[in-house]
């Protein structure tokens, strides 16, 4: 593709250690558009290798609000169906800017490996030393090894290594929208992490028209999002009142995903005064609540509200899906709960549920379109200006091809 996507996508065979660049053809994009839909086509093509497909949408990495979305498509160990889970923060855009808008990861590595994607290069790196390390240590080691602190990572912790269906792929130190046990698939494949650094660029067919339309969408989205942020940004997270009160006492700053106006993530400091704005010698002062639904689930399981952040941190370090494991906690305090989590990471318990798209945000008729366009489903839940008609218009301006709204349906 000349515009909006990279020229190539990548097919990685972990068994042979080979990575093949394949041209991302215009006809293919015209038919499958991108995101979950194009991922699905790649999944079908490479089904024999039980692939994990990481993909972006046509609008991922552009200035269109919420352009942070990357989609993981694979067969879920939890549901037994092919399913789609989001990864946001900076990782979605980072993947595209590595030079590969889509990456198919198939088969199984003989030894623990991490995949290092950068500047249109895919390196297979030995991860034997990383196996057994928690996700935070893995991030630190890989960033240090590759010499870049803006590297974005999708990794697993102990839960994924032990192939548990409660495992979640993590993004850097925090969570993703993986509610499908895809972390177990990483473990199955001996894949500790996919590390990405994107210094590429995306061309646009009609830059002036694209920016003009994008600005009008941005204005609409901003007015629909309003001033809600942090703990009050997304009401469907249903953060209980006592948890909100506890969180307010630990609240440091609010944050958004890449190019999103919705600051629904918030950082809690519990090993340092949260009013401290300086960078101090406390290396791990707290946790980014990247998943308010998971955070609420911990308190709803009866954990003391003031301890919920630290318990969430433990889940992220172990690579456990907070929604799946919270309900299994019996301890009310952090020490007890964290000890239980350590045990869970060695067990094989999991809740089963039935879904195709990850329940990271409420489903609407626009959610599916967002998963194809590459726009954050959490933002889409708030902003009606983000819909299939708009995605089709922007996709057409950006590529010079002709997309209709119904292209943004599976």
């Amino acid at each position: 593709m000349d515009n909006m996507y990279t020229e190539y996508y990548l097919v990685v065979d972990l068994a042979t250690g080979e990575a093949e660049e394949i041209e991302l053809e215009e006809e293919f994009v015209q038919e499958y558009v991108g995101g979950a839909k194009l991922n699905m086509a790649l999944y079908e093509e490479h089904k024999d290798g039980d692939p994990i497909v990481l993909g972006t949408g046509l609008l991922t990495g552009t200035l269109v609000p919420g352009s942070c979305l990357g989609v993981i498509t694979a067969k879920s160990p939890v549901t037994g169906k092919v399913a789609h889970a989001p990864f946001t923060w900076s990782a979605g855009a980072e993947l595209k800017l590595t030079g590969y808008s889509f990456v198919v990861i198939k088969n199984k590595a003989a030894n623990p490996t991490y995949l290092w994607l950068h500047d249109e290069i895919a390196d297979f790196v030995d991860a034997s030393e990383l196996w057994g390390k928690n996700t935070w240590d893995a991030v630190d080691v890989i960033r240090d090894e590759q010499g870049e602190d803006r590297i974005q990572l999708l990794s697993i912790g102990k839960a994924g290594e032990n192939k548990l269906s409660t495992a979640m792929i993590t993004n850097n130190y925090w969570g993703t929208g993986d509610r499908f046990g895809f972390g177990a698939l990483f473990g199955e494949k001996n894949l500790k992490s996919v590390a990405m650094r994107g210094m590429g660029e995306l061309e646009v067919d009609d830059p002036d028209a694209f920016i003009e339309k994008t600005k009008s969408v941005f204005d609409d989205v901003k007015s629909q999002v309003g001033d809600a942020k942090g703990l009050d940004a997304i009401d469907y997270a249903k953060i209980p009142a006592d948890l909100k009160d506890a969180a307010k006492k630990q609240l440091h700053r609010v944050e958004a995903d890449f190019n999103s106006p919705l600051a629904y993530k918030f950082f809690l400091k519990y090993r340092e005064d949260p009013s401290v704005m300086l960078s101090t010698d406390v290396e791990e002062p707290g946790v980014l609540v990247s998943d308010p639904i998971g955070y609420a689930a911990i308190a709803n399981a009866g954990v003391v509200p003031a301890d919920a952040g630290e318990v969430l941190e433990a889940m992220f370090k172990l690579g456990l899906n907070p929604v799946a494991v919270a309900s299994k906690l019996t301890a009310k305090d952090k020490a007890g709960a964290i000890a239980e989590l350590e045990k869970f990471a060695e067990s094989s318990e999991a809740d089963k549920f039935d879904a195709v798209f990850s329940p990271i945000a409420p489903m609407s008729d626009r959610t599916e379109a967002a998963y194809i366009a590459g726009i954050c489903p959490v933002l889409v839940a708030k902003a009606e200006a983000l819909n299939a008609d708009i995605f089709a218009e922007l996709a057409s301006i950006g590529t010079g091809l002709d997309f209709k709204a119904d292209a943004f349906k599976m």
């Binding site: 990495g61 552009t62 200035l63 609000p65 900076s90 855009a93 800017l97 935070w136 602190d149 803006r150 850097n172 130190y173 994107g198 210094m199 590429g200 660029e201 995306l202 061309e203 646009v204 830059p207 920016i211 600005k215 941005f218 901003k222 942020k229 440091h252 700053r253 609010v254 944050e255 958004a256 995903d257 890449f258 190019n259 999103s260 106006p261 600051a263 950082f267 400091k269 704005m277 300086l278 960078s279 101090t280 406390v282 290396e283 791990e284 002062p285 707290g286 980014l288």
Partner: protein
Amino acid sequence: MTIQVDPQKCINCGACELGCSFYRDEVFTTMSSSVMMYREEKRNYFGLMLKREDDMILGRPEGVEIQKEGEASDSDAGASAKPILLREPCDECKDALCVRFCPTGCLIEVD
């Protein structure tokens, strides 16, 4: 016209990097902007830097500092400022995309 930075309003979305890069090359990238985010992720210490003709605005969460050319900074933001030294300085363009797409008013234009 110049750009003012209010780093406490920053939500680290990076729209400014995308906007400025697009203004320069009409492509989407984060690599050619005069404004650059930095983040110590585990400490949640983040803000942005704006390279200007004769100095650099360091928008740290604890406040704004103007760093003259050749001056060293004693803060951590100084350490990660290195890549921005290779970039083009802000040319104070009209209707700057970094400002137009900043969702929080962290970046504003002033006369």
